[in-house]
C-alpha cells in the first residue's frame, strides 16, 4: 500500500516536472468535451441545483452528486488513450 503511494507520488512528480501533466490535462479536457461528457455533466449539475434550490446549494453538494456519475461516464476509449500516453511517457523517461 505504501509502495503504491510512493510510486504514485514519483510518477506525478515526473509528470509535473516535465510539463507532461499539463499537456495530459489539456488532452483530457479536449477529449471529454468532444465526446459530450462535459455537456452531460453540465446538465446534471443543473438538475442538482434545481433540486436543492439555487439559494441553498453548495459546491460540496454538487461535487458529491456528480463525482460518481462523472467517473462512471468517462468513455473507455478516453481512459485507454490517456493510459497509453502516460505509459509512452514513462517508457521514454525511465531512469
Amino acid at each position: 500500500m505504501y509502495v503504491d503511494l510512493k510510486m504514485r507520488a514519483t510518477i506525478n512528480q515526473k509528470l509535473t516536472e516535465m510539463g507532461e501533466r499539463e499537456r495530459l490535462k489539456e488532452l483530457l479536457r479536449a477529449k471529454l468535451t468532444e465526446c459530450g461528457w462535459k455537456d452531460q455533466m453540465k446538465a446534471h449539475c443543473k438538475e442538482v441545483i434545481k433540486e436543492k434550490g439555487l439559494e441553498h446549494v453548495t459546491v460540496e453538494d454538487l461535487v458529491v452528486e456528480i463525482t460518481p456519475k462523472g467517473r462512471a461516464l468517462v468513455p473507455d476509449s478516453v481512459k485507454k488513450e490517456l493510459l497509453q500516453r502516460i505509459r509512452m511517457f514513462l517508457a521514454q523517461h525511465a531512469t
Binding site: A9, T16, E17, V57, T58, E60
Partner: protein, 523 residues
C-alpha cells in the same frame, strides 16, 4: 454562495495580502509551464523539483484528493480527507485556496466564496500563466452576456430547448413545378451546421441596394426553418431570386441539382461582399481570389494538379480552388479501371466490397491516379523547353470544411445522353488522408506503408446529407436524406419529411454526397 463574497475575508485583507495571494496563485495554482515556474519562482532544477515535491498534503503526503493551500500560512491539506479542515479549525485559519481550480473556500461559511478583488487577482494570474504557455495565446473564456443582451433576453422570454429528439430545423418544401432539384439542395444547405450558425447569429451585413440579395433570402429561409412551424414552407421568393441571378436555371423544366448547387454557391459568394473580412488598415479584401466570405470558408478547397514531364521528370504544379469534386463512374464512356497501385483508401475507410460493387474511395482513387496524357497531348515542359509527353495527377492540397462529392451519373456525350445507375457504396465516415497532396509526397519519398495516424483528425469527415435522383434523364425526381444531431436521419421528399434509417441512406444510389469535417481546429 452569494456573489457578494463573505465578510470573513476582511480578516485576511490586511498588509501585503494582494501580493501574497498573487504568489500563491503563481506558484501553486496557475503554474503555467516549466519555464514560467523556473523563471518566476526558483533558479535551478533542484529547487524546481522541490516545488513539484512540495505540492502534497502535509498530513498524508497525497497530491490528489483536492489539495488546498491555507491562505494564512504554508500548509497544504487534502479536502477530501478533511486534513485542511482540521488545520483550519486548529489554527483558526479560515481561508484556503483550491490548487486545482483556484477557488477560495471559507471554513466559516462552509462553501466556496466569490470575492471581487480576489477573483480579479486569480483571473489576472491565470491569464498571465496561460499566455506563457507555448502556442496557445488567449485562454478560452465562456461567453457572458452584456447589459444590452441581458435586457433583450428579459424582453424576449421565449426559450427553445434542443433535446436529442427535437426536430427543430426540419421543414418540408412545396414543389413549385419541378423544383425538387432546388428543394433538396436547400435541405442540404440548411443542415450544414456552420452555415446554419452563421445565419442564425445574424452575421450577414447586407450591402446591396436592391431587394435581390440571395444571402438575405437565405437568412430568411433559416428563420423559416427554425421558426418551429411544421407546415411546409413555400420558397417562391427564393425561386424568383435564383431565376433572376442564374438565368440558365430559369423555367419550369427539371434542372440538375448539382448545377443548382454550384450556381447557388456562386451567387451567395458574390452577394457576400458585405461580410468579407477587413485587413489591418480597415480596407476590405477586394481581391476575388482571396475572398473570406462564409461560402469560401466552408466550401472552398484547393485541388493540386501535378504535370510531370516524362523526359526530364520536372513537375509543374498548379492549385485551383474547388467547391465540389466530380467523380466519373464505371459504366460511363470514360475508362474507369485499372486503378493505381498502393490503394489503401478502402482499408482506411472500412467500406465493404460487396462482390465487386464500386465504393466512393474507388472513385476517389481513380480521381487521384496519375494519368498518362498521351502523345496527342504533349505539354511544353519548362525544364527541357520542348513538347514532351507527360503524366498528370490530381490530389487535394487543401480540404474544405464541407466536401461535396458529385457522382457523374448524367452522361451528355456527343453519342448519347443517359443516366448511369451503377450502385456506388459510400461510408458514413470518410478519411481523406490517402488522397491528400501531402500523402502523395510521402509515397513518392518511398514511404509506402503509411501508418494511419489515429491522433491526426484533420482529414476525417462525416456524412450529413445525400441527394438522390430517381427516374431517367428525361423525367426524374430528386429527394434528399439529411442528418440531424448525431445519428438521426430524415428523408426529404419535397413537402414530405419522414424518418429514415442509416441503412436507407447507405443503400441509396447517391448523386450528391455532403461530408462535414469531424474536427475543427482554430487556425
Amino acid at each position: 454562495m452569494s456573489p457578494a463574497g463573505c465578510s470573513h475575508v476582511n480578516g485576511y485583507k490586511v498588509d501585503n495580502w494582494k501580493q501574497n495571494l498573487r504568489v500563491i496563485y503563481q506558484c501553486f495554482v496557475w503554474s503555467g509551464t516549466a519555464e514560467t515556474r523556473r523563471r518566476k519562482v526558483l533558479q535551478n532544477d533542484a529547487g524546481w523539483t522541490a516545488l513539484a515535491k512540495s505540492c502534497i498534503c502535509h498530513i498524508c503526503g497525497a497530491h490528489l484528493n483536492r489539495l488546498h493551500s491555507c491562505l494564512y500560512c504554508v500548509f497544504f491539506g487534502c479536502f477530501s480527507k478533511k486534513h485542511i479542515h482540521d488545520h483550519a479549525k486548529n489554527k483558526r485559519h479560515n481561508l484556503a485556496v483550491d490548487l486545482l481550480y483556484g477557488g477560495i473556500y471559507c471554513f466559516v461559511c462552509q462553501d466556496y466564496i466569490y470575492d471581487k478583488e480576489m477573483e480579479q487577482i486569480a483571473k489576472e494570474e491565470q491569464r498571465k500563466a496561460w499566455k506563457l504557455q507555448a502556442g496557445i495565446g488567449e485562454k478560452y473564456t465562456t461567453w457572458e452576456p452584456t447589459k444590452r443582451e441581458l435586457e433583450l433576453l428579459r424582453h424576449n422570454p421565449k426559450r427553445r430547448k434542443i433535446t436529442t429528439n427535437c426536430t427543430i430545423g426540419l421543414r418540408g418544401l412545396i414543389n413549385l413545378g419541378n423544383t425538387c432539384f432546388m428543394n433538396c439542395i436547400v435541405q442540404a444547405l440548411t443542415h450544414t451546421p456552420l452555415l446554419r450558425d452563421f445565419f442564425l447569429s445574424d452575421r450577414h451585413k447586407c450591402e446591396m441596394q436592391s431587394n435581390s440579395c440571395l444571402v438575405c433570402e437565405m437568412s430568411q429561409l433559416f428563420q423559416e426553418f427554425y421558426s418551429g412551424h411544421r407546415s411546409p414552407h413555400i420558397p417562391f421568393r427564393l425561386l424568383h431570386l435564383v431565376w433572376t441571378h442564374a438565368k440558365h436555371l430559369a423555367g419550369y423544366e427539371q434542372q440538375d441539382a448539382h448545377e443548382f448547387l454550384i450556381a447557388a454557391l456562386d451567387v451567395l459568394h458574390r452577394h457576400c461582399k458585405g461580410d468579407t473580412t477587413r485587413d489591418d488598415n480597415g480596407k476590405k479584401a477586394n481581391n476575388p481570389n482571396h475572398c473570406n466570405c462564409i461560402i469560401d470558408q466552408i466550401f472552398t478547397g484547393g485541388l493540386q494538379s501535378d504535370v510531370t514531364c516524362q523526359v526530364c521528370t520536372g513537375v509543374s504544379t498548379t492549385i485551383d480552388p474547388f467547391w465540389d469534386i466530380s467523380l466519373d463512374l464505371p459504366g460511363s464512356s470514360t475508362p474507369f479501371w485499372p486503378l493505381s497501385p498502393g490503394g489503401d483508401g478502402s482499408a482506411v475507410n472500412g467500406e465493404s466490397h460487396l462482390s465487386g460493387s464500386t465504393t466512393l474511395t474507388d472513385c476517389l482513387r481513380r480521381f487521384t491516379r496519375p494519368e498518362h496524357l498521351g502523345s496527342s497531348a504533349k505539354i511544353k515542359c519548362g525544364g527541357c523547353h520542348s513538347y514532351q509527353e507527360s503524366t498528370k495527377q490530381l490530389t487535394m492540397k487543401k480540404l474544405p470544411i464541407v466536401a461535396c462529392f458529385h457522382l457523374k451519373r448524367f452522361e451528355h456525350s456527343a453519342k448519347l445522353r443517359r443516366k448511369i445507375t451503377t450502385y456506388v457504396s459510400f461510408p458514413l465516415e470518410l478519411d481523406m488522408t490517402p488522397f491528400m497532396a501531402s500523402s502523395k509526397e510521402s509515397r513518392m519519398n518511398g514511404q509506402y506503408q503509411q501508418t494511419v495516424d489515429v491522433l491526426n483528425n484533420d482529414n476525417k469527415y462525416a456524412l450529413f446529407a445525400v441527394v438522390n435522383h430517381q427516374g431517367t434523364l428525361e423525367s426524374g425526381h430528386y429527394t434528399s436524406f439529411i442528418r440531424q444531431h448525431k445519428d438521426q436521419w430524415f428523408k426529404c421528399d419535397d413537402a414530405i419529411i419522414t424518418k429514415a434509417t442509416i441503412k436507407d441512406v447507405l443503400d441509396s444510389e447517391g448523386y450528391l454526397l455532403f461530408y462535414h469535417k469531424q474536427f475543427l481546429e482554430y487556425e
